[in-house]
């Protein structure tokens, strides 16, 4: 390393060094093959990720592409359960990031995971209403009111499972009009103004911007989703897979996740 760099560049290098060190530490616990050797990271990396990670992973992917010219990060964002099904049916992918541990377990139990999954973020539910709150929603009990039009996630997908926990803990019977196939579908119903409220992740509320308003509620603390990430045994691009997983678990990744509204693991 040259001594004649500007302070800023040096600082950048230092940060990157720390990140790399942290990432190695983080992944060492997962039994990852030693990734300190600077193998050429190039080609295409295919990341299967929960729908709620769409915005933050897209920007992390762009960052990784900028760091490694010749690298192309492709995403498949969908409900974690759908992704888990695709993976167990042999869909070619390098990395899987799930919105809950249940769906990660589905994949892990299938024996197609090369590193033990590492938790990298948490997410809590939030009530989301269209801008202006036309349904006058104030708390979770409004989502148990049959007179309101409510969208929840289907119990088969993580956000729906979390919603069930929240209602159970609050002793309320939810009154949904539709059970959506993933969290973004539930959010879309709100941004279109077709429902009075939906229960989505806090991060989805932030990502939706001004079209919606979020309402936090105390019962959300009863259902905190942990987000695990892993690389896959049959990854066509193992080096790329490691690089992406390392970026996500690095401090830069943590910062991006925190900015998007995710909690620390």
């Amino acid at each position: 390393m040259s001594e004649h760099r500007s302070e800023r560049q040096q600082h950048g290098r230092a940060v990157r060094g720390v990140i790399a060190g942290l990432a190695v530490l983080a992944l060492a616990g997962c039994g990852a093959p030693d990734s300190s050797s600077d193998g050429e990271v190039t080609g295409t990396v295919t990341v299967f990720a929960a729908a709620s990670l769409t915005e933050v992973f897209t920007s992390l992917g762009a960052q990784l592409e900028a760091d490694h010219p010749g690298l192309d990060v492709q995403f498949n964002f969908a409900g974690s359960s759908a992704l888990a099904t695709q993976l167990t049916q042999g869909a070619p992918a390098d990395v899987f990031a799930s919105a809950d541990t249940d769906q990660m377990d589905v994949v892990t139990n299938n024996g197609i995971v090369s590193t033990a999954p590492a938790l990298f973020a948490t997410n809590t539910l939030e009530i989301v209403v269209p801008a202006g709150n036309p349904g006058s929603i104030t708390g979770l009990d409004d989502l148990a009111d049959p007179a309101k039009t409510i969208a929840l996630c289907a119990p088969e997908v993580p956000c729906g499972a979390a919603a069930e926990e929240v209602f159970d803990a609050a002793g309320l019977t939810a009154a949904p009009d539709t059970l959506e196939e993933d969290v973004k579908a539930a959010l879309t119903k709100v941004t279109l103004g077709e429902v009075d409220a939906a229960l989505v992740y806090a991060t989805d509320v932030r990502a939706a911007g001004d079209a919606v308003e979020g309402i936090e509620f105390p019962e959300a603390a009863d259902a905190v989703n942990g987000y695990p990430i892993c690389t896959l045994t049959d990854a066509p691009n193992p080096a790329g897979a490691r690089a992406f997983a390392e970026l996500v678990t690095s401090s830069a990744g943590r910062e991006a996740l925190a900015a998007a509204g995710f909690g620390a693991p």
Binding site: T85, T178, G193
Partner: protein, 269 residues
């Protein structure tokens, strides 16, 4: 429709091989479902709550969608085939847009028009407090939107192939156009209408994207079989296979029954 055809039995070799490949391509996935089906769990899976409900909802909504399509689609097909209005080809392209539109996009488009914030739906909601989305009626609307073009295309084809001289003869004998349509044209293209209706019903029965988007998914009101299959696939692929087989068996049985009863040789040759 009943052109004379070569006698049965002699399939030319250049047709035989691709035809056999087509059969394999279309039938093997169905075989896959049958082979992978968890036959030992069939009973418990079938008697799970909600299966009968979803099946009934599917059959009722697909049938209603087909009736609406017949009521509106046959007249539209006549306009496309027989009228001399200008811009007919543009009109034809426009009304067949749902064929190429991804159904999910169709569902969003329906929201923008018929949703409670939609161009038309807003009036209804403000005047009556009623909203179409998330109701069984919305399922019928979504299925009709996606399936009606199949009926229109079939009936239009039948009308074009029908001999217009019968209609001319009826006109010379003093029948007005409405009488000619009812007494001559309709019977003439009946097999084409039946074929179109079957196609429309089948498409409506399998409809997924527009339905889950516009009507949502709720057991008993809007969860049709394809939606139940999709959600079952998220947690329990075996249940999804069983549900798919039920839907397949019921639709095949219905189609075979109809073919024997009503469609006769006009459709099956």
């Amino acid at each position: 429709m009943s052109r004379r055809r070569p006698r049965d039995g002699g399939v030319p070799a250049p047709l035989l091989v691709p035809a056999a490949l087509a059969v394999a391509f279309l039938v093997l996935p169905l075989l896959g479902l049958v082979v992978r089906a968890p036959w030992s769990e069939l009973g418990p899976q079938l008697t799970r709550p909600g299966v009968g409900q979803a099946l009934r909802l599917s059959l009722v909504s697909a049938t209603l969608a087909t009736l609406v399509s017949l009521l509106l689609g046959v007249p539209l097909a006549w306009v496309l085939a027989r009228s001399r209005i200008r811009g007919r080809s543009v009109l034809r392209a426009l009304v067949t847009v749902p064929l190429v539109l991804p159904p999910v996009v169709g569902g969003v488009a329906l929201f923008l028009v018929l949703g409670r914030q939609g161009i038309v739906g807003r009036w209804l909601f403000e005047a009556t407090g009623l909203a179409l989305p998330f109701t069984t009626a919305a399922v019928v609307v979504a299925e009709t939107f996606v399936a009606m073009p199949f009926l229109v295309i079939s009936v239009e084809g039948a009308l074009r192939a029908a001999d217009a001289r019968f209609e001319d003869a009826a006109a010379t004998l003093g029948a007005d156009r409405w009488t000619t349509f009812r007494r001559v044209t309709l019977p003439l293209v009946a097999p084409g209408i039946a074929a179109g209706a079957v196609l429309c019903w089948a498409r409506a029965l399998g409809e997924f994207g527009a339905t889950i988007t516009f009507a949502g998914n709720f057991p008993g009101t809007t969860q049709t079989m394809p939606l139940a299959v999709y959600l079952a696939l998220q947690r329990d692929p075996d249940a999804a296979i069983v549900l798919s087989l039920v839907l397949l068996a019921v639709s095949l049985a219905t189609l075979l029954l109809l073919r024997g009863r009503w469609l006769g040789r006009g459709v099956t040759g």
